[in-house]
Amino acid sequence: MTRLEKKLAALKSAGRKGFFVYITAGTPTIDESFHAMIEAEKAGADVIEIGIPFSDPLADGPVIQDSSVTALRNGITLEKILELSRKIRAQSEIPLIGMGYINNFMSYGYAGGSAPYDGFEKFIVDAKAAGIDGVIIPDVPHEESQQMREICKRHEVHLTEFITPETTPERMKSTCASASGFIYCVSNTGVTGVKKIDYSRINAKILEARKFTDVPMAVGFGIGSGETAVQAAQNSDAVIVGSAVVKLLHEWQFNDAMNLIREIRTALDKNFGG
């Protein structure tokens, strides 16, 4: 069992909901983002998603786009992100998931003329050694992920599958069949960012997906408060909060970011058997 599987199993047997916090690596500075990841665990996060900045993040709204620009300006690279993971691992066993776009992974260790997924495999090997438990690649849908699934499986790193309110039953079947670690349940059409969302649609999808898999489900996109986290957690095993926290961190509102994490933790525990 990986750290992630252990953590999610423990939460489940305690009747609690998991809480994933996404933090862009390198924003507002590389050191601050490290500090934020460490403190986020103390404030109540169960899993840290390390946001890996890309120049053209298709699945992200303005907050994560802007934080990525800052992080890239601060010189963040995959190598530095692995360094960050090793530093976290030196003092914590919190599950770490790297969330980034495929082109960065494919370029890892680029030395010219490599086959498409060589860089990706190299990254997965190094990420595993650095204490990373899984990856989320928002621009790789199930149809394109076969080779990456095989690579991740070979090295015992989770590759996250997605479902959305629009996922058809046939696709859900194949998605669930290859799910590993957790399934990212995208609450709504569109991109990341805090907004008003009707969570009943994804909640219904989760019940459908449960017929095909026992892999835990985490709902993300749009969650910015304790109240919305509770709505998103109705049928899921966990919630994911990104933009709301990243916005505060990017604006150097470190304490507010930690307060928000505490608020969401408290709301989840109050409503779901903490």
Partner: protein, 393 residues
Amino acid sequence: MNKRFGNYGGQYVPETVMPALLELEAAYSQYKDDAKFLAEFESYLREYAGRPTLLYFAENLTAHYGRAKIYLKREDLLHTGAHKINNALGQALLAKKMGKKKVIAETGAGQHGVATATVAALFGLDCKIFMGVEDIERQKLNVFRMNLLGAEVIPVSSGTGTLKDATSEAIRHWSTNITDTYYIIGSVVGPAPYPEIVRDFQKCIGIELRAQAEKTFGGLPNYIVACVGGGSNSMGIFYEFRADSGVKKIGVEAGGRGEATGDNAKTLSGAGRPGILHGAYSYLLQTPQGQVVEAYSISAGLDYPGVGPEHSYFKDTGAVEYVSVTDAEALDAFKLLAKTEGIIPALESSHALAYLDKFMANTSAEENVVVCLSGRGDKDVQTVAKILGEAVN
């Protein structure tokens, strides 16, 4: 439906976009061979856009080089002034068949934006055009044209505020509004099935050329030269001849400020290597870390860090040779065509014309060269005037 050209292409998009792509795939499979749909498309090309376009013998330009005969495929004579209208008409028609009431598009210089706004007006579709703030500033006239045509121009300030960011933002908007919105992509780029769809709506250029060449000089051209940004006019003219090894096909990219600096758009002919941008695996200008590099060219239509995946395939198989010319060389060709033939070419097309300088000496009088004159240059006159003015001062 084949989603790849060799290794290239694919559908590297967020899960939220997949339902829309699958819907598009299904619709296009249904209509691509549908006689009624194709007849309707051809009728709009003929009656509205002005096809077939002329294959014009450029006698004075031929005399200038004194070698092979030079012909121009006059896409510049189409309605809205460039080949972009072919694709915009085809996709708007497809959108209508799919029951979509809203269309969106990205634009750099504004040509594809204007073409999309035009067909949206024609078909009564609600239209939003995503355009980088930098480009809006540089292309105010085209913004005004789009507004006149009833389209809403949405400024994009993320990233560098240019074409690649406008494209990302269009995809983001699409992923948020997939049920009622059709995304009319402007070139042979993006996730499958777009590169195939755009190619199919542009391949009329090459199909016409084959018949015209037969009639005009009794055979196939020896050379076809076209500019490559995303690569839609070049794919449109090359595709018909992809298996004709006797026809040498040359794609000309923007060399920008020249070899010494990194300011160029030489995705295939320069420092690009395969990577993933906007949903497709294809050659890409990027850093060693895989961050996308901003392209540069005097011509806004060539100023894109990626390229259509089928071009990447053609590069690797050797079906097409990809080369580049600089801003300065393109400007010279722009002026030369205006003076010798009385035709002001688009700066994009001027890149194809500029390459004549590099290879005409190797041709003989019995050979025939066809240059795709993809667009007219009226839109570039201000840019050129400004540059020439600076050069004088």
